[in-house]
């Protein structure tokens, strides 16, 4: 198992390198000029040219890539062309917020999606299945944007139960920053008022973000359970008198979640992408808005670093998925 994971870990290095190359090329193909954007719209062409030179943008792509790689290997990720802050510092500041949101959303969609998927499968082609499938199609089709606004209108504006935006109320003193995860920091500092406030801020964005994932996890679980229900061992387990509910929720489910687990790994990526919209709507101070801003302004260092970081997180999550896979299905540990 350890060797298996180690090999997977080594395999991620070339993929991260490929990711960097592609990102680098993409950045150079897309028409955006950091120097022009940085100089502002009152700048003269001379000012822009000077900035280009200072930033090394007048060198060849290959030379620039070489320089960049060299710095990345030394764990230097450069600074934002605009805020002049070390990208690593900015990311470290924002990533926890995104991860907190993403994990919570992932948790929600998994915790709800798996049981719903099982319900669908068990009631295959009966009304609960149709109903849930209808909603899961809806969940995929309906834009997060729209859902978010509806949730805001209902829970923040009409009922006033939950906050509209941000991750902490303005008048709430933030807990001392330790991990960067607001909930964890609040708990560590024994600040339950901040914990409650932060949790309440988490609800709407997490629900919005969870919806798309919920739909796909439901579908994958449903498919997985349906497939497992065709297996001989189900028939055998029935023949030897397993309790139906235990058979479904324990013995069948564990065989079915492998596909779902893979899906959760993939979902993590799409949640980070979907987080861009959600973070914008709910003013979540995470990586999403940082990235969008970087793309709009052509902030290359930020774009590269964020891509790399997402790549690393993604690889990490997939490694984790592999690990869980191994725990769920003992056969994998040996064959791999």
């Amino acid at each position: 198992m350890t060797r298996y994971l180690l090999r997977r870990l080594l395999l991620t290095i070339p993929s991260l390198f490929g990711l960097l190359v592609v990102t680098f090329l993409l950045i150079y193909i897309v028409p955006s000029d950091t120097a022009a954007a940085m100089a502002g719209d009152a700048a003269t062409p001379e000012q822009i040219a000077r900035l280009r030179h200072e930033m090394g943008l007048d060198q060849s792509v290959l030379a620039q890539f070489g320089l960049y790689l060299d710095r990345v290997l030394h764990l230097q990720f450069g600074e934002s062309a605009f805020s002049h802050r070390a990208v690593a510092v900015d990311i470290a500041q924002r990533l926890p917020a995104t991860l907190e949101l993403t994990f919570f959303a992932l948790f929600l969609s998994t915790a709800l999606g798996i049981p719903l998927g099982v319900l669908c499968a068990v009631n295959h082609n009966r009304w609960p299945d149709f109903l849930l499938r209808f909603f899961s199609v809806l969940g995929v089709a309906v834009a997060a944007f729209w859902v978010a606004i509806m949730l805001q209108l209902l829970f923040s504006m009409q009922l006033g139960w939950l906050p509209l935006r941000g991750e902490l109320s303005d008048e709430m003193l933030a807990p001392p920053r330790m991990t960067g995860f607001l909930l964890i920091d609040s708990a560590l500092a024994w600040r339950w008022d901040a914990f409650a406030d932060a949790s309440r801020h988490l609800v709407l964005p997490a629900i919005t973000l969870a919806l798309g994932g919920l739909a796909s996890i439901t579908r994958f679980t449903r498919a997985g359970v349906l497939e497992t229900l065709q297996k001989d061992f189900v028939l055998y387990e029935r023949a030897v008198g397993y309790r139906r509910s235990r058979m479904i929720w324990i013995y069948v489910l564990r065989n079915s979640v492998t596909a779902t687990l893979t899906q959760i790994g993939l979902l993590f990526g799409s949640l980070i992408a979907g987080g861009v919209v959600v973070e914008a709507i709910f003013d979540w101070p995470g990586i999403g808005s940082y990235t969008v801003q970087a793309i709009l302004t052509g902030d290359h260092q930020v774009m590269l670093a964020v891509t790399l970081m997402i790549g690393v997180v993604y690889a990490g999550v997939n490694l984790l998925t592999d690990l869980v896979h191994g725990l769920v299905d003992p056969r994998l540990m040996e064959t791999a």
Binding site: A39, D41, A42, T44, Q47, L51, S80, E171, G298
Partner: protein, 533 residues
């Protein structure tokens, strides 16, 4: 009677109280202004100069002169007056005594000199107006409170541009400067996230997350004093809200005191209908224009340009797309600015005339039917919509226009050469300084060819003379008629299509009182504001 409550009911009750307690509209903190407008890319007023920066520089920094009121007047601020030599080359500004920076140190002329040299040295956005006429060593401090500028050539708009430069505290900055082979870096990384000002509010660097949040607290010892406003805002919390809909909702539920100043027109009615917010409407000086590349056929032909100018549906665009929140301005100058040619008629939307000019140009051999590209900022809806509207009208007279989505950075980079400049492109010209030079001067004097502002590559020697003369004179009464005359001539030559002068729409909480609008700062100066309990 006995009231019996089951355990489940107790639970529901507790949950209910929790939720309602949480949701109860809290009494808004009467000392904190929650600002929902956009934040600048960083906090250094010498690196960034745009509308969002006004919220930082007008509050955390001071300048020698400052624009106040509407229409804007330039008023003494840190300086209590200035003199200018007859040849317009030597300018002297006298500082008020006893001005203190946030760190308690006193501001002297040396600090002003440092600030201007830093602007010139960094050479970024705020430097644009000064680089051609001012050398760093020509800013001096002959006396502790006297700053002297020796210009390379007479340049009347120099004075109009003075408010661009925020005065910074070198004692706070210098420790962070890094000296490289090209000299100092002016601590540009440090000041981007920190502050070194003297303004009415003091930046709390610890609160700063770029583009995300920033807190400022009142500076009691501000040189201007607080006698004009006995109950000022004590804390400004910048909480820029990215999504328009969220921003508006936050304004409506009292968690923001203002939106950005680009409120979409379709939100106006909704905000005005609410009981705790209102939309404030101000005319600013920001003109919207469709550029034509006068060097590229058919735009080298006057009749061709006129055909295009008559084919833009000005009223339709302003009324239908902008909901009427803009004023039709048929000239390159904002209609509220001095030097504006009063009664100028300009071009109207008339497809019959357009067609007539079109045919005339065609007869003169202009390639009227070639595919013409119009570049827009893809992420800016208005710029796209204007091009779409234009495209359909032009199609009806026989012109073939293609809309190309582009970015601002790319467009201004391409605009610096007539060969690479687009056939047409769409943009705004904002107020960098309040002077006709900011518009007609820099847009139509042929000496500016090679800058994006002059990217129609229009050249008329007669206009050049008028604009250059006006630039060299210092008195507004003498300059105004020259700009008027030049503008009329430019309009006759029709190098571009001038559409409107903007109106700024900004949602405010009704508790905000005393706001003063000035187009240059876009109403971002907070020292006048009081929050009603």
């Amino acid at each position: 009677m006995e009231i019996r409550i089951t355990r489940r009911q107790t639970g529901a009750l507790a949950l209910g109280t929790l939720l309602t307690a949480a949701g109860r509209a809290r009494a808004a903190d009467p000392s904190t202004f929650l600002n929902g407008a956009q934040m600048p890319m960083n906090l250094d007023p010498h690196q960034v100069f745009d509308v969002p920066m006004q919220g930082v520089m007008l509050n955390a920094y001071d300048n020698l002169y400052r624009y106040e009121n509407d229409p804007p007047e330039i008023v003494p601020w840190l300086a209590d007056g200035h003199t200018v030599s007859d040849d317009g080359l030597l300018w002297e500004f006298r500082l008020r005594p006893g001005i203190r920076f946030h760190d308690g140190s006193e501001m002297t002329a040396v600090d002003v000199v440092y600030s201007f040299r830093r602007v010139l040295g960094l050479g970024m956005a705020p430097a644009g107006a000064f680089l051609p006429i001012l050398k760093p060593d020509k800013v001096t401090a002959p006396e502790p409170l006297l700053v002297r500028f020796q210009l390379e050539k007479p340049y009347a708009p120099f004075f109009a541009a003075i408010p661009i430069v925020s005065i910074v505290n070198p004692r706070a900055i210098q420790a962070h400067e890094q000296i490289g082979p090209n000299g100092t870096d002016w601590a540009k990384s440090w000041l981007a996230s920190n502050a070194a000002g003297s303004g009415a509010y003091r930046i709390d660097p610890a609160s700063y997350t770029p583009l995300e949040r920033l807190d400022m607290t009142i500076f009691e010892d501000h040189f201007y004093g607080w006698k004009d406003n006995p109950k000022p805002v004590r804390r400004i919390a910048f909480r820029p809200t990215k999504e328009t809909s969220t921003r508006v909702l936050a304004l409506l539920n009292g968690t923001l005191d203002c939106t950005d100043n680009n409120l979409p027109t379709d939100q106006v009615a909704r905000i005005n209908a609410s009981k705790n917010a209102v939309v404030i409407k101000d005319t600013n000086m920001r003109t919207f224009i469709v550029r034509m590349n006068n060097r590229k056929p058919p735009f080298d032909n006057l009749n061709a340009r006129r055909a295009f100018a008559h084919a833009f549906n000005y009223e339709g665009f302003i009324n239908d797309i902008l909901g009427g929140y803009a004023t039709r301005d048929p000239t390159p100058l904002p209609d509220t600015l001095w030097g504006y040619p009063k009664g100028a008629k300009g071009y109207d939307y008339d497809l019959v005339k357009a067609k007539a000019y079109f045919d005339k140009a065609l007869a003169e051999g202009a390639p009227m039917k070639r595919a013409i590209e119009i570049h827009v900022q893809s992420e800016n809806e208005q710029s796209v919509q204007s091009a779409q509207l234009f495209q359909s009208d032009l199609a009806s007279i026989g012109a073939n226009v293609k809309i190309i989505g582009d970015t601002w950075g790319n467009m201004i980079t391409n605009a610096v050469k007539p060969e690479t400049a687009p056939d047409m492109w769409v943009h705004w010209v904002s107020t960098y300084f309040v002077d006709p030079e900011n518009w007609v001067g820099q847009m139509y004097d042929s000496q500016f060819h090679g800058t994006w502002k002059a990217s129609s590559y229009y050249s008329n020697p007669e206009v050049d003379v008028l604009l250059r003369t006006a630039r060299g004179l210092t008195r507004q009464e003498e300059r105004a008629p020259l700009y008027e005359q030049a503008t009329r001539q430019i309009m006759a030559d029709c190098p571009d299509i001038w559409v409107y002068n903007s109106m700024q729409l900004q949602g405010y909480s009704r508790r905000v009182k005393g706001r003063r609008f000035c187009t240059v700062g876009a109403g971002a100066e907070m020292r006048w504001v009081t929050l009603e309990a």
